[in-house]
Every structure is written in structure tokens, then in C-alpha cells.
């Protein structure tokens, strides 16, 4: 974490980015809602809240937590890690966590500044609690997707482009900027089938109250399902990749 | 008329004085206190056309600052500078057309493409007439043995091959003056010799004036007749290698390790140059006393544990000068 603290401009750009986008999205929704019929379940203040909270979540979610894996595969130092008597995946999880916690801390100042620009709704305490649980599950989904992407580096090192492509798809179909309930129906159906929706859309829709308490168990269950599925896939991929390293010597 | 004329060159770098910490950063917003660093302080010399000069000095002496002023990168704080009749910093491009530069640690060749492509681009940049270009290419290819790897991408070349390419690149436009900054650094013995050979040939056959900056004094010994030594931004010696050797050649240094910390250590006929704990350096004139006699004289009065003699090769002469300053009297009296 000390490593991250020295990146002053990283802090600056992270917060500045959030604020610039908070402003932008506020103006966009204002303009859109001014001349068009608003969705009944998502009035203007709700959608602005959605976008703002999404951007704050993005501070934590948009980090490449397991980048160290790719880096080590790139320079071959992964081999030495395998010789250590530790669980290598756990090591990468812990390594990325520092950066994530640091960025999580950034949420507070970002939120304070954001409140100068917009007004956001605050749900009741129980709803907030469920939101946080859902956020955490969404974070885990994101973590495994990120991990799987970095695992591709076991087979081919050129993953930059792939990562960016997945990032954009995630942003779009995760409902980060545009609530999935705004999507045309056929796209919504696709989006809700993908794991990305669990990352942003589910927690956010809980926050703004579009998902009502009676559906909580159902949506949290879907998230948990995705976490499990991705975790299983991840362990298979990891084992295959590790075998490749050990057999081929990096 | 001299091709390079430098008179009382001076370069001062001014930077904001900054106190450490947050208090200092805030204070810096309100006050304007500066720190002046004098990199070059009254340097004068002149070079005739066709000279090959070694420009030597310890790190931080002001070598690269001088070269940057000569090449037009830096503007002098004061002083007069003329290179081939042009003032470098006011007519940067005209000056650039007359010079070639080889930075030993950085190549000007294009990494991804065959060597020949870099030459083509440079030909366009320096506007070299086609036939002159072909003539030069042929000549350099011969001396530097470039044909073997003209078609190889530069990134695949060995350091020695790349340096040879850089040399050809610097000479492509027939510059009147060539600045060589650490041209043999990192090269193996054979490659160094090849480069030195090339520099000597180019200087002799084309009359190209060469300024050579290097830490490898064997380069200087092999190539130049004249050496300019600078330290702390000033010239401390400007003359021939011969003279330097003569002056210092008469003097050698005896390095003695004392067995005990004799506080009144003194030896007749020698000069104590330095003393660090029990290690003493004695300078003596070998025409007055032989090393053997001196050692005997020392051991007559003192117990010693070790002794060695330092010969006056250029490297050690220069080292001595760095350590002691320059003595121009043959009796060893400091100037």
C-alpha cells in the first residue's frame, strides 16, 4: 500500500476522473429527461444517483487486481513463486487487495467532492446493508473475471487488447454507465444472462430501489452462483496453466 | 583562423531553492530564492582545423555542459563561442549542419529497421548529394566493415556493430567537426581498436576536427596529441600529451603502508602528496633518487607493511592531477 501512496498523480487522476464524469452524466441525464418521457421506476434523481454511485464503485472495480500475475508471467519470475510453499493464487489475491483498499479509501473524498456537484439519494439502512453485500459479491465476480483474463497470459502474452475489449464490454453490459433497465428489451435479456450484470447492475438497482426486497434473495443468489461458477472455472484454468509452467519451465 | 574559439565561457544553472517537506513546498510559493550552480566557469580554448583533442575531466567537471554549448543545445551565460565562424546557439541549424555527434551511450539509428534505412533518412535530413552519399557509404563500409550487416535491423546488432553504424551515421554529411562522447564505452578490446582506428583515419584523411570526451584514457593516449583537462568548470591543463608526460614523467609516486601511525612521518627528498590513516603517497623525482634508494631511506626510520610504485601513465597522471591539482613545476611545487 505504501507503493500506491507515492503515486500522488494517480490519486489526483482517479478522483478527477470520477468528478468529471459525475458532472457529465448529470448533464446528460438532465438533458435526456427534459424532453423525453421518463421511465416510471427510474426518475431523474434516481438515475443520477445510479450513475454517481456507479462511478464511485468504479474506483474499486476498475482496477486490474491480478496484474501482478501477468507481469510475472511476462518476465518469468512466476517460476520462483511456484517454488515457494504458499498458495500462489492467494498471494495474488492479497497482492491486489492492497491497491483495492487504497482506492476504496479514495471513495470518501470522491464522494464528498461529488456531493458538491450532484445530489444523491440515500437508501434506508437495511437496503444499504443489502447493497453492500451485493457490492461485495459483485466485486468477487469482477475479481475472478480479471483473474481469468490474466491467466490467459499462461498461453499468450499479448493480452492488453483483450483486456481492454473485455473492459468495454463489461462497462456496457455491466450497467455501469447506463442502467440495464434502459436497454432495449432484447439486449436486456442478453445482459442479464451475463456475469457482468452482477458486477454493477445488481447492487446498483438494489441501491436505487428498482429491485424490491422481495427479489433480494433471488438476485443475490444469482450473484453467488456466478461467483461459484467463475471460481470453479478459475481453479481449472489455474491448474492447467500452472501445469504448463511446471512442465515447460516457464 | 581557429575553427573553434571559446573565450571566457561561463554557464550558470539557476534553480529554485526548495526546502524539504510540506512547509518548504508552501514557502516556495511565496518566496523566490534561487540556487546558482556554476557548471562552467571561465573556460577558454581554441582549436585549429584538423586537430584531435581529448577533453577530459571527472564527472561533474563541466565536460558535457561545454559540449552542449558547442553543439548549440545550451546557451552560455556569458563568454564568446564560435564554431566554424558560427555562434552555435544563435544559429543552431547552421551549426548543426557542420557537426557530427556520437553519443556513446545512445544511438541515433532507427531500432526496428535495417541499418541502411537509417542512413537513407539521415541523408535526407542532412541533404547530402546522392553521389557524395554513395561515395561516403562505400568508403565507410570498407573501413568499418559495414556491408556485412547493412541489411540487419539495428535492434539485432551487437554493440560493436551498432557503434560502427553510429560512426558512419555521424560522418555521412562530411561534418567539419565531430564530437565524440564516450565512443568506446562498453566495447570489447577489438571493437575499441577498430573505432580508434576509424577516428584516427577520418581525422588524418579528411581533416575532420575531433573533440573526444572519454573516461577511457587509452583512447586519448592512442589518438590525440593534445589534451584539455577540466575540473570544477575550469581548464586546468591545455597542452600536449608529451609535455604532460615529461612533467609528470619525472615524478613517480611511492605508496607506503605504515606499520604504525607515525605522526611525524617525513622523508627527505620527497613530497607527501596524501595521507589517509597509515597509507601515505610520496612523490619523488626519479632523476634525483631511485625507487630502491627511497625505499631504503624510508625503512631506515620507519616500519612499513607494504609498498608499491605508481608509474606515470596518462591515466595515473590524470588521476594525480584530479587528486592534487595541477603542478606545473618540475620540482613538484604546487602551482
Amino acid at each position: 500500500m505504501a507503493r500506491e501512496a507515492t503515486y500522488r498523480f494517480d490519486v489526483f487522476t482517479s478522483i478527477a476522473s470520477v468528478l468529471v464524469r459525475v458532472y457529465l452524466l448529470r448533464m446528460v441525464w438532465l438533458a435526456l429527461y427534459a424532453r423525453n418521457a421518463a421511465p416510471s421506476d427510474l426518475p431523474l434523481h434516481a438515475i443520477i444517483t445510479y450513475s454517481t454511485v456507479a462511478l464511485l464503485m468504479g474506483l474499486v472495480m476498475d482496477i486490474d487486481q491480478t496484474r501482478a500475475l501477468h507481469d510475472k508471467l511476462h518476465d518469468g519470475s512466476i517460476a520462483t513463486d511456484f517454488m515457494k510453499p504458499i498458495s500462489v493464487p492467494l498471494y495474488f489475491f492479497a497482492d491486489g487487495t492492497g491497491e483495492v483498499l487504497f482506492h476504496a479509501a479514495l471513495i470518501v473524498p470522491s464522494l464528498l467532492f461529488a456531493l458538491l456537484i450532484v445530489h444523491i439519494d440515500v437508501p434506508s439502512l437495511p437496503v444499504m446493508g443489502v447493497f453492500l453485500v451485493s457490492f461485495f459479491l459483485g466485486y468477487l465476480v469482477g475479481f475472478f473475471i480479471n483473474f481469468l483474463l490474466n491467466c490467459i497470459a499462461f498461453w499468450t502474452l499479448e493480452i492488453q487488447a483483450m483486456q481492454l475489449i473485455v473492459t468495454w464490454v463489461t462497462d456496457l453490459f455491466g450497467g455501469e454507465i447506463i442502467p440495464l433497465v434502459i436497454f432495449p428489451v432484447f439486449l436486456q435479456r442478453i445482459a442479464f444472462l451475463l456475469p457482468f450484470a452482477s458486477m454493477f447492475s445488481t447492487p446498483l438497482l438494489i441501491y436505487v430501489g428498482v429491485i424490491k426486497p422481495e427479489r433480494y434473495l433471488q438476485v443475490l443468489g444469482v450473484q453467488l452462483l456466478w461467483v461459484t461458477v467463475l471460481a470453479v472455472i478459475a481453479s481449472f484454468v489455474w491448474r492447467a496453466g500452472a501445469k504448463r509452467i511446471v512442465v515447460q519451465g516457464g | 583562423m581557429a575553427i573553434i574559439e571559446a573565450v571566457a565561457l561561463r554557464k550558470v544553472f539557476r534553480s529554485r531553492e526548495r526546502q524539504p517537506g510540506i512547509g518548504g513546498a508552501i514557502a516556495a510559493l511565496f518566496t523566490r530564492s534561487y540556487v546558482d550552480k556554476v557548471a562552467v566557469d571561465d573556460i577558454s580554448f581554441s582549436l585549429e582545423r584538423g586537430e584531435l583533442v581529448g577533453y577530459i575531466g571527472p564527472n561533474g567537471a563541466g565536460k558535457s555542459t561545454t559540449i552542449k554549448m558547442l553543439t548549440g543545445i545550451l546557451v552560455p551565460t556569458s563568454g564568446v563561442l564560435r564554431v566554424a565562424g558560427i555562434v552555435p546557439h544563435t544559429h543552431r541549424m547552421a551549426n548543426a549542419a557542420n557537426i557530427g555527434v556520437v553519443f556513446g551511450q545512445r544511438s541515433q539509428l532507427y531500432w526496428d529497421l535495417p541499418l541502411r534505412e537509417s542512413f537513407e533518412l539521415l541523408r535526407a535530413i542532412y541533404d547530402v548529394p546522392r553521389d557524395r552519399y554513395l561515395q561516403n557509404m562505400k568508403h565507410f563500409a570498407e573501413i568499418l566493415d559495414l556491408d556485412r550487416f547493412l541489411s540487419t535491423p539495428v535492434r539485432q546488432l551487437s554493440l560493436g556493430e551498432r557503434m560502427r553504424g553510429d560512426f558512419a551515421a555521424a560522418m555521412l554529411h562530411d561534418p567539419k567537426i565531430v564530437y565524440l562522447d564516450e565512443p568506446t564505452i562498453g566495447l570489447d578490446v577489438i571493437a575499441k581498436e577498430a573505432i580508434r582506428e576509424f577516428i584516427g583515419t577520418v581525422n588524418r584523411e579528411r581533416g575532420t576536427t575531433v573533440i573526444l570526451t572519454t573516461h577511457d584514457l587509452a583512447d586519448v593516449e592512442r589518438l590525440s596529441r593534445r589534451i584539455i583537462l577540466i575540473d570544477d568548470g575550469t581548464v586546468i591543463y591545455d597542452g600536449s600529451l608529451e609535455r604532460l608526460r615529461d612533467e609528470y614523467g619525472t615524478h613517480r609516486t611511492l605508496v607506503v603502508s605504515l606499520a604504525e601511525p607515525y605522526p611525524d612521518f617525513e622523508v627527505a627528498g620527497t613530497e607527501i602528496v596524501s595521507r589517509e590513516a597509515n597509507l601515505v603517497r610520496l612523490r619523488f623525482n626519479r632523476r634525483e633518487i631511485t625507487a630502491e634508494a627511497l625505499i631504503r631511506r624510508v625503512t631506515e626510520h620507519y616500519h612499513i607493511t607494504d609498498v608499491s610504485i605508481i608509474e606515470p601513465d596518462i591515466e595515473s597522471i590524470v588521476r594525480t592531477i584530479y587528486l592534487e591539482g595541477y603542478h606545473d613545476g618540475s620540482d613538484g611545487a604546487p602551482s
Partner: protein, 264 residues
Amino acid sequence: MMSVYRQYWRINILTTLEYRENFLIWLGFTLVYHGSAIAALWIVLTRFPSMNGWTFRDMAFLYGLWMLAHALHNTLFSTVGDIPDHIRDGEFDRLLVRPLDTLFQAIATPGQVFPDELILGLITFAAATWYSHVQVDALFIVFIPLIVIGGALIDLAFNLVISTVAFWFVRVDALRWIVIQLEQEFTRYPVSIYSQGVRLLLTFVVPFAFMNYFPASFFLHKAHEASALPPAVGLLTPAIGIIAVAAAYLFWRLGLNRYSGVGH
């Protein structure tokens, strides 16, 4: 200079061919980047058909115009963004030691130049022009190329200004990043949706509004809610581009003077 520029492009092409496997990757990258932006716009405008009077068709033209100008800049001038690195690692001195203008050399530094973004830009713009039903008359045909070039020059001006700042503050990444955000995200929507301060900023200080909004408003006959300026102001983009680059160049010379230690 022209022969050097020709040689520079020759080497660019050779270098790009040398690394042609990268081409598909970059193409995919560009496709997804612009594709997801357009997809997002489409999704939103399907649900909310009018944004301050602009429909998806209008926005497509707005985006296409920006994309083409930006792609042109990236193809011709992206090397200007590398100047801070050259200053930091000492390569910049090499430019000073050659008998050519340093900015010209910085622009003409060979490397990989993939035409994918430009080609995609042309295709997108053509498609957007057709799709938006904008009137393609003589005025359009004469002015649009000039406007695209003007837009590329505005981009260049800002690229140059940011790179020049490196003469004072070696790390300019944060600054560059913010300006890019302003450009890429704010030009996506009609400037009229922003508050007064931002509108003024994007018109007079950081004139990204001239890259696509004003010209698009003019050709699409949109009412000018963004400012009190007459619609024809959209035709001024080439002039704005030239002025912006001229101003940036003056700043660049200031930076060069500082680098050479003029004045002390």
C-alpha cells in the same frame, strides 16, 4: 524538409509492415473502442429519442465528425505526444544537434503507424453522413475536409501544449489524461447540454466544441442553444485550428528557450 517527410513516411510504412501482426490487434481494439461508444449512444437514444433536439442520427454525425478529425491527428501527429519521454531520456538533445526544426523532427519521428483508425474514421463518417440525412451540397463538400483538418489541428495544438509543459514539469501524464477526457467524453454530446461555464470553456478556452459541435450544428441546421454565436461559426473551425496551433507553437518556443537555458 519535404524529402525528409517523404523518407519519414517510407520508414513508417516499412516499420509498420515489419510489425504487421500487431495490425489486427489494433484494429480490433479500435473497433471495440468506437463501437462501444456508438452502441452506448444508440442504446440511450433509443429510449430517450431527443437530446436537446438532437436525435441518434444527429449524434451519429456528431461522433463521426469528431472521430475522423481525431483519427487524422493520431495518424499524422501522435508522435508529438512522445516528446516528454524524449526530454526525460535525453533523446531530445539529438534533435537539437540536427539541422532541422525540432518540432518538425518530433513530428517526423518514425515508428509504427497503423492506418486502421483513419480508415475506420472515414468509413464511420461516410456512414454517419448518409445515416443522418445531412445535406451534402457544395458547401459541405468544400468545407468538411477543411473542418476535419481544422479539428486535427486543434487536437495537435493541445497535444503540443501538453508536451511543452514537460519542459517545466517532467511528468505530464495527469494533465494529458484530463485534457483527453474532456475531449473524448464531452464532444460526444451536444455542447448545449452543459452549464454556461463549461460551454464557455469548450468554446473559447479549450475549443473542442469547434471540432464537431459547431460544424455539425451548422450542417444539421440545429438551433444554437450553446451560445449567442451565429450558426456559421461552425465554418470557422479551420481558422480556429490554425490559430490554436500558432499559439501552441509560441508556447513551444518558450519551452525550447527554457530548455536551452536562455536567460541564465
